[in-house]
Symmetry: C2
Subunit: 335 residues, 2 copies
């Protein structure tokens, strides 16, 4: 397993982005957040997404002008149109905006439409939690999920992340898709020709299936059957029509870069101090999470594990995937 | 099947509440919202809950003084302490408050702690949607749910409801527990000695089980395995420490009335017009929901069905359950 120092990786990615006409500031931010995926141990949402960005630049479905427009819709609500530019820096900005609004009013919303992929959501919610906010981020993605009993892909894998500040140590940061398994897991299973342990999707006829090739023809199922579908629908409305973009079945450009990304990312922050005493809150959550951790070996308190992985990867370097190694070869970037 | 006119039922319940020292105004509101459960076709969350209220009055764990205190925590956040009084009227007030805050600021939160049972959440979210808000309500309930892999009840059945205004006809109103099945379903299965179709809970040793008697000794599982648990934990934090009440494992008095109810109910409203054009929004959601409805026979667009049931029950009367009939007999109330 080839590893690479994360700072070196950031530098290489940033330099390539600058060469593609991205401003130094936006290139640095993008590279840094991309590598956060690798540091957290999720390379599928990390640096190898640079290949997707390259494809977007080539197809002109991702823009390089860095332009975005900010619209203050009401006192607590700000909407940003990313105009098909790189999503990472603009969503980071949205998090800072939502935190500022929450600090001022108690609750803050900043949503982004028409941004490209933004990497792992947990990076952003964790960021807000460092400012003593409970933060929830929802995203819509292009259709991949069928309703239970259906066979048309009408919903995305629509992920959710939330982060909760704790008294000491890392925040409680959960981050998961509303599909039974992620699209990344589906692709990995297709490549390795492995079936899933259970019927996580349906074939083209709507029949439940464990076979990734068949599921690619049909669709993934939502997690938790009808209840999961209800949640995914709520998330898709908040990330779609509410912020002035399309409904979930018309979302494009979140995986394949043949079309520009017209999805939404919805950042919601609650400033803890605007509700209650912050130290009572963080101690209470901490002790609850300790009881949770002690009660099940299967349940890992999220955030703590990522924090450990991150430390280890900062020390040992992040894994250089074959996909990323090929990218650097193709672009004639020495490592 | 004995049926009773819903207006007559409201009158009877209200009169009994007034006789128990509840003010006429609060008694009327409580009775009306209780019967909304029956009208919607969910008698387990309807009028028969009057027996639970009676038990709370008898144990003095539900107060009759109607006192509640309202604290404006920040511009968009209001917290209400119900001081162990009846939950129905106070949560209805919280919905109106959250709507008003949303109209003023874009987003509004009004949460309630220490309120007794509040019936079906969908009633309240639907109310907010009539004011052109997207409304989400979360509640914590006393422990009944174990973590996947665990055997201690640390989480409640923590329900969620959301409502979305539509262009015409009833709002899109979803309402469900974050447990695999509701506590009401567990009790019904225990009474009828029927096993569940799948392992919706665990026995006292943490072994998955379909047997309701064994699950009562162990606990229900969250819906959707670990992902459902993550959501339930988020909901429990928002309905617990964030609003200044206990963590989920210390919640009491939501089913058994031996202790006063110290749970939380969290009302979050987004005023659609503060985000985007309301008519574009409602038309877009309506057309999305029509595509959803057409794509699966198993998936029923929520709200529409309840609306039909409600109309039918207003015409034909609501079902008078044995439990409620016995209550009226015991209290010597003629029907």
């Amino acid at each position: 397993m080839v590893r690479i120092n994360h700072l070196k990786l950031i530098k290489k990615l940033s330099a390539w982005l600058v060469y593609q006409s991205i401003s130094v500031d936006l290139a640095d931010k993008t590279a840094r957040i991309l590598v956060e995926g690798d540091l957290a141990g999720h390379p599928g949402h990390g640096a190898e997404r640079i290949t997707q960005i390259r494809s977007g630049f080539a197809n002109q479905t991702i823009q390089t002008n860095g332009r975005h427009t900010v619209k203050k819709c009401s006192q607590t609500v700000t909407l940003i149109d990313a105009h098909y530019n790189l999503g990472y820096p603009v969503v980071e900005k949205a998090v800072h905006t939502a935190v500022d609004l929450a600090k001022q009013f108690g609750v803050g919303v900043c949503a982004v439409k028409n941004a490209s992929h933004i990497g792992i959501l947990g990076y952003y919610t964790n960021l807000a939690s460092q400012h003593s906010c409970v933060c929830v981020i929802l995203s819509s993605t292009s259709p991949a999920v069928v309703l239970p009993g259906g066979k048309e892909q009408l919903l995305g894998t629509n992920p959710i992340s939330y982060a909760i500040p704790m008294a000491s140590g890392p925040s409680y940061v959960a981050d998961f898709s509303t599909s039974s398994v992620s699209r990344t897991a589906l692709i990995e299973h297709m490549q390795s020709e492995l079936c899933f342990d259970s019927a996580v999707g349906v074939d083209a006829n709507g029949t439940p299936s464990r076979d990734p090739q068949q599921i690619a023809q049909g669709g993934l199922l939502p997690f938790g059957d009808l209840k999961g579908a209800h949640l995914s629908i709520l998330f898709s409305i908040l990330c779609g029509p509410l912020i002035g973009t399309v409904t979930n079945d018309f979302v494009k450009g979140t995986r394949s870069m043949e079309q520009s990304p017209n999805k939404g990312d919805f950042v919601l922050c609650f400033d803890v101090s605007s509700f209650t005493d912050i130290s009572t809150f963080t101690r209470s959550v901490q002790s609850f999470s300790e009881r949770i951790a002690a009660s099940s070996e299967r349940f890992r308190v999220p955030g703590a594990h990522t924090s450990e992985t991150r430390k280890k990867n900062m020390r040992d370097g992040v894994v250089l995937s074959d996909k990323l190694r090929r990218f650097f070869e193709e672009e004639a970037i020495s490592l």
